[in-house]
Amino acid sequence: MEDTLTQQQAGRAILALEDGRVFKGRAAGARTRRGGEVVFNTSLTGYQEVFTDPSYSGQMVCLTYPHIGNVGANLDDEESPKPYIEGLVVREFSALASNWRSTETTQKYLERHGVPVIWDMDTRALVRHLRQVGALRGMVSTDETPAEKLILEAKALPTMAGQELASRVSASAKYEWKDGSIGIASPILTDAVAGADAKRKRRRVVAYDFGIKQNILRLLVDHDCDVTVVPAQTSAEDVLGLKPDGVFLSNGPGDPEPIHYAVSNIRKLVGRVPIFGICLGHQLCGLALGGKTFKLKFGHHGANHPVQNLLTKKVEITSQNHGFCVDPASLPSSEVEITHVNLNDHTNEGMRHRTLPLFSVQYHPEASPGPHDARYLFGQFVEMMNGAR
């Protein structure tokens, strides 16, 4: 296994950005070239969860922690059946996997899935560049393509704004989800107590898949839900036809604006069934309730963002992964109450309907990767479903 990497090490890799900035490094992963919007994620742990989060489709991820690959890869740490990142940018890429759960090296894993890696470059310089100029399109090449050509290719890539990617990553047909969290990920005693009263009764949840992370599904199952996952474009009628106790709106990639079908479906569902949305799901709720969304300069991607729950004043350390944001000013305050705010840049992180059973958050209470501080929201969803009876 180490040989595969050393072969790769011989090869050079290039990251070329649309603005002409070029980084040279070493190649790993697959021998190819791919493009996308370059974003950085500051989480210290959970690279495999990041690779496999469908919300990253159309994006190349620079992980700011320098040592990636140390713990290898395993099936339990996937958030979907395959990596969605277009490419990986890191400082050091481990030749060796050291963890009792690892089944293959990260190198093998990414190679198998055709993801190119550029490493041994100044990733911090890249991050500072993106922080200053904002997210950029870029190409990662491990196939010796000259930089000039890559810059042109980067310029030619579609911009993230206006891209409808949800339907591209969504499940093609509806299916039932049965798995709960694996042992090591299941909450320790004190967590379990939270919302215990609401447990026992089984609830039927229909989950819209705009690029859903499997940990959301696992947590719904942990909370005694029978989960049916439906494709992004499933009509509100069909969803209601499944007699759900609640509807879940998932995270997903791309710009929420062009997803008109989802917005109109949600409009039809609001008030008829309890709704819980996460990330893209939250943005779609925002649009459905008459609000607007906008693109952040370089987005929020990490596992350490402080979010304040305005109802309890408590701060949650949250997992975040979004480039777009709901503009709270654009929401009808008569109907919508802002429930969560990001303490770093004061952008909106959550809302609920004042009278109807609907709430949603911009960040990722399912974490994976990230702290479990916001898991209570799943209990809250269950309680809302109970209340709605």
């Binding site: 991050v127 408590k314 990230g370 479990h372």
Partner: protein
């Protein structure tokens, strides 16, 4: 939540003297706490017995007490100050224990003092291992099985049950003192007996071993609103079984998946809540089975700790400062992040670099001590390094350690030896790891023997692989790419030079030609997601440089590196003061240091902080970048001094005393010549390279002689030879060991002055003017290292004529050496002749102590002199006697006493000598010398008895003077018993005392009496080597049973005076602010 308004005045207890397991990290945390609370408008009262701290500067707190950290003194202080609250969590274990004691004794209630930061119950649960384990089990967390035992038979039964190896932990000892691991029953029986002895309550915990598991630490914080954050995760490179304080550690954790890490985080959150630590920082330790991921909780410290200091430096998140603010009711989201300014502290720092910490051990100072690393901490200091990768960080940390000599494997290295060295961890383990891998031992075998994670071993392999490729080229042939790769993997110019056997300078030159240069990156808590406003920097080999040096008058201060015996916190104190003073004078101050425990490496201390190794290569890189007007090498002890000449050669502008003068003072020959010229007496001396030469010289000088290597600090490897055989042995040995003595560095031989009074003098000079800052009289006679002897300011017994001479010589020396800044001179007075022992034209160990005693911040003044200011412009309170200026002496007595780590090194003799072995110091202040001495002794952990029995056994030479001491003791109402000879001597002086057996004279002998607590004070003065042996056991017993033991007659008579002074004397306390004010008035009247 806004800060509490029901509290106005807050008491903070410091951690006392530097000891193993409790070093300057608590000066850092305490100082931060004081600053934080005062910035919120609270009045802060500080108590600490350790004068060598920034926290005890009169400016740091509103009211500062340098008093013994004991219940009676704390109560006295509380009675005068009447604080509303006590913050117990920033003074280490000492501060915490004392706070608990005060609470339980009802003193806090009596004076209505609230505990803030941690409640009594929380402290008790966290500190009591059994209660803590119960809490963990209740939460569904695993802990190693364990039980408390009080008798050996019970213990053995239990151990057999648990199965070997088992872990033994004595109850209520610090830093695991007396703790051990037993691998079999025989060993166990012995170890448990010791452990029970070590425990003040004769109780120990027997615990299931998880030896060889991975060890992790989480540094966490919580506020009143139950907001919880993890500041830093730390993974131990060394497995469970090696104390975290003795382990190489790495931040952040390297080998955890997110699921495992979040499980640990959830556990930490659950624990801190269940234990009930409502606000502040805690340290929680976990062990993980590498094979199955099984996780057990090891312990929790409900306070800031060594690890939290490390975490603060590793992340840029100031835990102690925030903890103090949380303690008064603020919440994390109300406190801005200093570094990003725009974002709040309610977040979890993320880093884009790797931090490595390596401990520093000094077993060489404690011959005969067990060097195996185990569950009891034995290191005296540590270094930290930051790199973009683990390899870079580790290499930088290794070179930060400043080994006194390069490590060399023994002539013959067998596989058996290799295996043993890897299997049984010792201080040189890292060297053995590289050795084994170089010799081709497989990673698997190395992991198996060491239980170090394969990922780390892989990193070492990769480093060696790069080295091999570099070695295959040469200075001229090596490509820029390969050289860069080598630097990126952390190799220093020195190491590369070795591979090519060329000079490091040539490698440096070549690097510059090829454009292979370091850049500087910032520590910003957020991996560059936000802009950072504090220049906290580290070097690395990458594309982009973020140093952005500013262009204004600028001074670089070189720190003192890792704490070690002889070069400790005193030097960090001086560096901080230089920075404070020059900041005030409008300079941009730049600090360079690699010790994570210190105040100097707080990003608040200087305008810019470079967390870098103090080697020529690393310092030059910083100077290239900063281009300062001046570099200060005078304050950091020997570390920066060793660089001074080379730095100057490379164009650095060293300010203050010229490196040449410093060098001259260190060079015995040239310095001897100077003394002759100045007509200042010095002990006859010379130097030799070979045994015969040395013997001849010793003969010529006359016995006894003092034999030592040149260029040492803290009297390393110095012995007093009473016969020629010793001299020969010493030199032979020294040349064998190498390192100690080589062509450049001969063996020095001095006439040893017996029964001489030693005097330390600190002075300030500006090139024109000299000002004597303090004349300190040692209590122990010359022959006992200045760092190990107690001393008093002002002097007590020195005649005016002697003082005259001392002043005169000091001024002469300062002028002759053109000192600009500080100078320290050590004198020995024998039969009214004043000899110079040594001159150090630099900051000395005694600077903080003299500064606290005189109220004049000497280091600050010195820094100003170095930048060209003059003494006459600084308006210092001095008196003038025939042309010589001296700072106004205190109108009280300030006694400094050392503190020794003997309890950590069983079997080591406690007798003092010219080899410095103390780790820390305390100060006692009083209007009488006796009381000041008694207070200092108490602060140092030696409680002089008020009644009971004193055991006396002195050498023939002391027998002449012993009568006076005994009269004092009897007058104070103590019973005196003595060994036969001493008793006889007393009898002939007309004093009858009961005589007792020596160890070899029959039973019950003196050791039996000590063991059965029939003795309350031991006075035992040996002379000459033979007597050392049969008396060792007495002194060892004294240490083991914690009975004050005095080994010199001079100290004995001081003690006697102390005991008399204490008799029927109320506990007296005074704040520095008042003492200094009083003194100022006094001097005003005088002039």
């Amino acid at each position: 939540m806004p800060k509490r308004t029901d509290i106005k005045k807050i008491l903070i207890i410091g951690s006392g003297p530097i000891i193993i397991g409790q070093a300057c990290e608590f000066d850092y945390s305490g100082t931060q706490a004081c600053k934080a609370l005062r910035s919120e408008g609270y009045t802060v009262v500080l108590v600490n017995s350790n004068p060598a701290t920034v926290m005890t500067d009169p400016e740091t707190a509103d009211r500062t007490y340098i008093e013994p950290l004991s219940r009676e003194y704390l109560e006295a202080i509380i009675a005068v100050e009447r604080p509303d609250a006590l913050l117990p969590t920033v003074g280490g274990q000492t501060g915490l224990n004392l706070a608990v004691d005060l609470a339980e004794a009802g003193i806090l209630d009596k004076y209505g003092v609230k505990l803030i930061g941690a409640s009594l119950s929380a402290i008790k649960i966290a500190e009591d291992r059994l209660l803590f384990k119960d809490v963990c089990r209740k939460l569904g967390l695993e802990v190693p099985a364990s039980e408390v035992v009080t008798t050996v038979p019970d213990a053995v039964r239990l151990a057999d049950e648990l199965g070997y190896p088992v872990v033994i932990r004595p109850s209520f000892t610090l830093g695991g003192t007396g703790g051990s691991i037993a691998y079999n029953r025989e060993e166990f029986a012995d170890l448990i007996a010791r452990a029970l002895d070590a425990s003040p309550v004769h109780q120990a915990l027997i615990e299931e071993s998880v030896l060889g598991w991975k060890e992790y630490e989480l540094e966490v914080m919580r506020d009143h609103r139950d907001n919880f954050v993890v500041i830093c995760t730390i993974e131990n490179f060394d497995p469970m079984g090696i104390h975290t304080g003795d382990s190489i550690t790495v931040a952040p954790a390297q080998t955890l998946t997110d699921k495992e890490y979040q499980r640990m985080r959830d556990a930490a959150a659950a624990i801190i809540r269940e234990v009930g630590v409502e606000t502040g920082g805690s340290n929680i330790q976990f062990a993980v089975d590498p094979a199955t991921g099984r996780m057990t909780v090891i312990e929790m410290n409900p306070r800031v700790s060594r690890s939290s200091a490390l975490a603060s430096k590793a992340t840029g998140f100031p835990i102690a400062k925030i903890a103090a603010k949380l303690a008064v009711g603020m919440t994390l989201d109300e406190i801005p992040n200093d570094i990003t300014k725009k974002t709040p502290s309610s977040f979890e720092p993320t880093i884009d670099y790797v931090v490595a910490k390596i401990p520093k051990w000094q077993f060489e100072k404690f011959p005969g001590s067990d060097t195996t690393l185990s569950t009891q901490m034995k290191s005296v200091g540590e270094v930290m390094a930051i790199g973009r990768t683990f390899q870079e960080a580790l290499c930088k940390a290794i070179r930060s350690l400043e080994p006194s000599s390069a490590w060399r494997p023994p002539a013959e290295v067998t596989t058996v030896l290799l295996r043993e060295k890897l299997h049984v961890p010792g201080p040189d383990r890292l060297h053995w790891l590289f050795e084994a891998l170089e010799r081709g031992m497989s990673s698997e075998e190395v992991c198996d023997l060491t239980k170090i994670d394969p990922w780390f071993i892989q990193q070492l392999q990769e480093m060696l692989e790069v080295d091999r490729r570099v070695a295959a080229t040469s200075l001229s042939k090596c490509s820029a790419e390969l050289l860069l790769e080598s630097k990126r993997s952390g190799a220093s110019d020195e190491e590369i030079a070795k591979l090519w056997n060329v000079k490091a300078a040539s490698v440096r030159a070549r690097r510059k030609e090829l454009g292979v240069q370091p850049v500087f990156k910032r520590v910003d808590t957020c991996a560059a997601e936000f802009e950072s406003f504090t220049p906290y920097l580290y070097s690395t080999y990458e594309e982009e440089d973020e140093a952005a040096p500013v262009d204004r008058p600028k001074v670089v201060i070189l720190g003192s590196g890792p704490n070690r015996i002889g070069q400790g916190i005193e030097f960090d104190y001086c560096c901080c003061h230089a920075s404070f003073a020059l900041k005030e004078d409008g300079f941009e101050t730049v600090m360079v240091n690699c010790n994570p425990e210190t105040v100097s490496t707080d990003y608040d201390t200087s305008d810019r902080l470079y967390f870098e190794p103090l080697t020529l290569e690393d310092v030059l890189a910083i100077l290239d970048c900063e281009k300062p007007q001046g570099v200060i090498v005078q304050f950091g002890g020997q570390t920066p001094l060793n660089l001074a000449l080379e730095l100057k050669k490379n164009g650095a502008k060293i300010i203050g005393t010229a490196p040449e003068s410093i060098d001259l003072a260190e060079d015995r020959r040239r310095f001897g010549a100077l003394l002759e010229e100045l007509k200042i007496p010095t002990p006859k001396n010379g130097s030799a390279f070979a045994p015969q030469e040395a013997v001849a010289l010793a003969n010529e000088i006359g016995l006894p002689v003092l034999v030592r290597p040149s260029y040492v600090l803290g009297g390393r490897a110095m012995v007093i030879a009473y016969d020629l055989k010793t001299v020969e042995e010493y030199v032979t040995q020294a040349t064998l060991i190498g390192g100690l003595s080589d062509a450049k560095r001969p063996i020095l031989i001095d006439q040893f002055l017996e029964d001489a009074t030693e005097v330390d003098v600190d002075a300030l000079a500006d090139g024109d003017d000299v000002l004597i800052a303090g004349i300190m009289e040692h209590i122990e006679e010359a022959g006992i290292h200045s760092g190990d002897s107690s001393c008093v300011l002002p002097s007590v017994t020195l005649k005016p004529s002697i003082l005259e001479k001392i002043r005169e010589y000091t001024v002469k020396l300062a002028k002759a050496l053109n000192v600009v800044g500080l100078m320290n001179v050590q004198y020995a007075i024998q039969r009214d002749t004043v000899y110079v022992l040594e001159v150090n034209p630099r900051a000395s160990r005694t600077i903080p102590y003299v500064s606290k005693a005189t109220g004049v911040p000497l280091a600050k003044v010195a820094a100003r002199l170095m930048t060209g200011r003059k003494l006459r412009d600084l308006h210092l309170p001095y008196t003038q006697t025939n042309g010589i200026k001296e700072l106004v002496v205190p109108n009280f007595y300030a006694v400094k006493s050392p503190v020794f780590p003997f309890n950590k090194f069983r079997g080591v003799d406690t007798i003092l000598g010219p080899e410095m072995r103390s780790t820390g110091e305390v100060m006692g202040i009083s209007s009488t010398f006796g009381l000041a001495f008694a207070k200092a002794q108490l602060a140092a952990g030696q409680r002089l008895p008020q009644q009971g029995t004193v055991f006396l056994s002195v050498n023939d030479h002391d027998k002449r003077h012993v009568a006076f001491v005994v009269q004092d003791l009897l007058a104070a109402g103590l019973k005196v018993v003595a060994t036969r000879g001493t008793a006889a001597a007393l009898a002939s002086a007309g004093i009858e005392v009961e005589s007792v057996y020596k160890v070899n004279e029959g039973r019950p002998n003196i050791v039996d009496l000590i063991k059965t607590a029939k003795v309350d004070l031991v006075i035992n003065t040996p002379l000459g080597r033979e007597s050392f042996y049969d008396e060792k056991s007495i002194r060892r017993a004294a240490v083991r049973y914690n009975i004050p033991c005095i080994t010199t007659l001079s100290a004995a008579s001081a003690a006697a005076r102390g005991i008399r002074a204490m008799a029927g004397h109320a506990v007296e306390v005074a704040a520095l602010q008042d003492l200094h004010a009083r003194k100022a008035n006094a001097s005003a009247e005088r002039s």
